[in-house]
């Protein structure tokens, strides 16, 4: 039988961002699938090396609009790791609060998008309606709805106003009720269940082999969570549990995200309660960061985000490397998408909650023999800069 190629992307309603999947299909069944990247490269790592530490926090915040506190948080962890900088207790709670609020809004955003991808626009609109109060909470805490600018080396930028804590807790209660309603509706819907159960299964072995992280791994029975494995900030001071399910299908990924949302609400409430009593400064004054290397990890809504910073004693990083969770999660489609119908493959692609602008660090080019080979974009751009410099002399 003829094999057709369905192009999904570079611009396609399934993807909020530019990405190019090629699905080889036999009728309606996917026989092979490939990914071509290189549509979103923005050179964040390179730009970061020309910024001061504080400026580069604002920069990495803009790597992704959804995890816009996970990247700065991992980056400050990396910078603090160089000199083992301690941060005040109150700042730790505020960091955790902002990080968990982000998880709630990210998971709700995914739930809405997933609803849209399977043609359930009502679920989409409802999930996003109930995401709105979370953004309001961000506005109360930081003044911004999306890019919060809360993280600083040695603490946080803004304090949480003690007068606002009660209203924040009220909003939290309201959100919890609404999400419970959505979770119940999604769990009771037989059509939704038949659509998502057993679809795009990622086995535990595959999840380990592909080094999957975050909800993608936890839905496949791999209990991995930086918040528990290597607690930073206030995660060792609050009570929460890791949600792990066994099946690894799209339905389980939904369940993991929904239950995690409740855990996040629990953490947020504990943090807000603590913020009533814990006093003290919110930021240690860090004058300089000495030469050295540091790594920072944080459990972003999509999984572990990793930042590496090398410093030379000046006020800017010499090297700033970012590894986003989607970088390891996206390739799992090789294991989960083969041999299933197109309709299932597309929701499976979306189920890892891919974030392409976080991920893209390299470009795929084909040489004269039409063989793909990988090139380091950073190297390319440096060579280009050298070339221009030589020309200008």
């Amino acid at each position: 039988m003829d094999k057709n190629v369905i192009p999904v992307g570079p611009y396609h309603p399934l993807l909020e961002e530019a990405e190019y999947f090629t699905l080889q299909v036999d009728g309606e069944t996917v026989v092979d699938i490939d990914l071509e990247i290189g549509w979103m490269h923005r050179g964040h790592e390179f730009i970061s090396e020309s910024k001061t530490f504080t400026q580069s926090l604002y920069l990495v915040e803009r790597i992704c609009g959804i995890c816009s506190t996970s990247h700065p948080l991992a980056a400050v962890h990396a910078m603090e790791d160089v000199d083992n900088i301690e941060i005040p207790l109150r700042a730790r709670y505020i960091r955790t609060l902002v990080g968990e609020l982000e998880r709630i809004h990210s998971h709700l955003l995914w739930l809405g998008l997933a609803g849209h991808f399977i043609g359930y626009d009502t679920l989409w609109m409802w999930a996003w309606k109930y995401r709105e109060p979370v953004l309001q909470m961000f506005e109360i805490i930081s003044g911004n709805r999306n890019h919060y600018g809360m993280m600083r080396v040695g603490g946080v930028a803004k304090d949480v106003d003690p007068d606002k804590i009660k209203s924040l807790l009220d909003i939290m209660d309201e959100i919890e009720k609404k999400i419970q309603m959505i979770a119940k509706a999604a769990n009771d819907d037989p059509v939704l269940k038949s659509r998502l159960k057993g679809v795009g299964v990622l086995t535990k072995k595959d999840a380990v082999d592909f080094c999957a992280v975050g909800p993608t791994a936890r839905a496949s029975g791999v209990s991995v969570d930086v918040r528990k494995d290597e607690p930073t900030d206030a995660y060792d001071l609050v009570d929460f549990k890791i949600i792990v399910t066994e099946n690894g299908d799209v339905f389980d990924k939904t369940v993991v995200r929904l239950l995690e949302t409740f855990e996040s609400i629990k953490i947020c409430k504990q943090c807000l309660e603590k913020l009533k009593t814990v006093n003290g400064g919110i930021r240690n004054n860090v004058k300089e960061i000495s030469a050295g290397e540091g790594i920072g990890r944080y459990e972003a809504p999509r999984g572990e985000v990793f930042h590496y910073v090398r410093t030379d004693g000046t006020n800017r990083p010499v090297r700033h490397k970012v590894r986003a969770p989607s970088y390891v999660n996206i390739p799992t489609f090789k294991a989960s998408c083969k041999g299933i119908p197109v309709a299932d493959a597309l929701i499976t692609l979306a189920a890892v909650d891919p974030c392409y602008c976080c991920t893209e660090r390299s470009i795929k080019i084909r040489d004269k023999n039409n063989e793909p080979y990988q090139l380091d974009l950073m190297k390319l751009s440096r060579e280009k800069t050298e070339q221009i410099r030589r020309q200008m002399k």
């Binding site: 057709n4 399934l14 309606e28 009502t122 609109m125 409802w126 038949s194």
Partner: protein, 308 residues
């Protein structure tokens, strides 16, 4: 040929009436769906504006594929819908037979689906051809159930194929009030959902998979007519159901209200089904229609034969 014929076909209850009512009901659908989803929804004239704007837009015709079929398909299917609406409408409103019975309606509606398939596959686009393939499968899925649904009122009216006679047979009781009638009506509603490719059966169009499927390459007036066809179906199919199961319309005094309610009830049922379901897979749809809907309708047919 006489003037009356043209009046029936082009003005009432044919093209003009169906189009205007369809676009209006399309607005009701969009507005109610929007309220379901906590949105505001479009203003009243939105559908009319869209249609007239599309008429004035450039038509881009694909290079590969069969151009003539690509252009002709939306207009043939439009003609089919106008014919069906004229046949159903004249029986409903004037109680006269417009040269067609249920068999003709069945054929015309099937030609409509075939036109979607031909128009989609003529564009030479991979999404469109996949969408056209899904449309064929969906047609295979719902057609048998739909024909069996139509059989029930035929049997109950004493084996009459003429729409007027089916209406007359319901003078002392709507078919929907009987056991076979209610089963056939519910399955009929689902078949219509599939024929109109509304959720949960919007499998051929599947925006997030196939980017509108068969209609992807369309632009300008042909796209406008596809959209108009879709909205006209909001009139044709509920009218057909009202005629077959709900005893038609009555325009004497307060009965008008009851007639409008019948129509709106069916439309609202369609909107509710549309807004509370995700898109199912094509194999699930086949499974549903062949394993559950068709046998159930067969039971209804048997019940109808025994007079229940």
């Amino acid at each position: 040929m006489n003037l009356e014929l043209f009046f029936y076909l082009l003005i009432f209850p044919g093209f003009l009436f169906t189009a205007i009512l369809g676009l209006t009901v399309g607005w009701v659908d969009r507005k109610v769906s929007a309220r379901f989803q906590y949105r505001v929804g479009p203003p009243f004239f939105q559908n009319f504006n869209d249609f007239f704007k599309l008429l004035g837009k450039e038509t881009i015709i694909v290079k590969d594929g069969v151009r003539s079929m690509f252009v002709v398909a939306p207009f043939i299917s439009f003609a089919m819908l106008v014919l069906v609406s004229a046949i159903v409408g004249t029986s409903l409103f004037f109680n006269i037979s417009f040269g067609g019975d249920l068999i003709v309606i069945m054929y015309l509606l099937m030609i409509f689906s075939v036109m979607v398939v031909l128009g989609g596959s003529a564009s030479g686009n991979v999404y469109s051809s996949l969408g056209a393939g899904r449309e064929i499968k969906l047609l295979l899925a719902d057609e048998l159930a739909f024909i069996l649904v139509l059989l029930v009122p035929i049997i109950k009216s004493g084996y009459q194929l003429d729409l007027g006679n089916i209406l007359a047979a319901q003078a002392d009781g709507m078919f929907v009030s009987s056991a076979s009638g209610i089963i056939a009506f519910i399955i009929g509603l689902l078949c219509i959902q599939a024929k109109m490719t509304l959720p949960p059966f919007h499998i051929p169009e599947a925006e997030t998979e196939l980017v509108e499927g068969p209609f992807m390459e369309y632009s300008g007036p042909p796209l406008g007519f596809w959209k108009l066809n879709h909205f006209m179906m909001y009139v044709v199919f509920p009218f057909l159901l009202v005629l077959l199961f709900w005893g038609g319309f009555n325009f004497n005094g307060i009965e008008i209200l009851w007639s409008v309610l019948k129509y709106l009830l069916i439309v609202v049922l369609m909107i509710i089904i549309k807004n509370t379901n995700p898109r199912i897979r094509i194999d699930t749809a086949l499974n549903f229609f062949w394993k559950y809907a068709t046998p159930l309708t067969l039971i209804a047919v048997v019940l109808a034969v025994f007079g229940y």
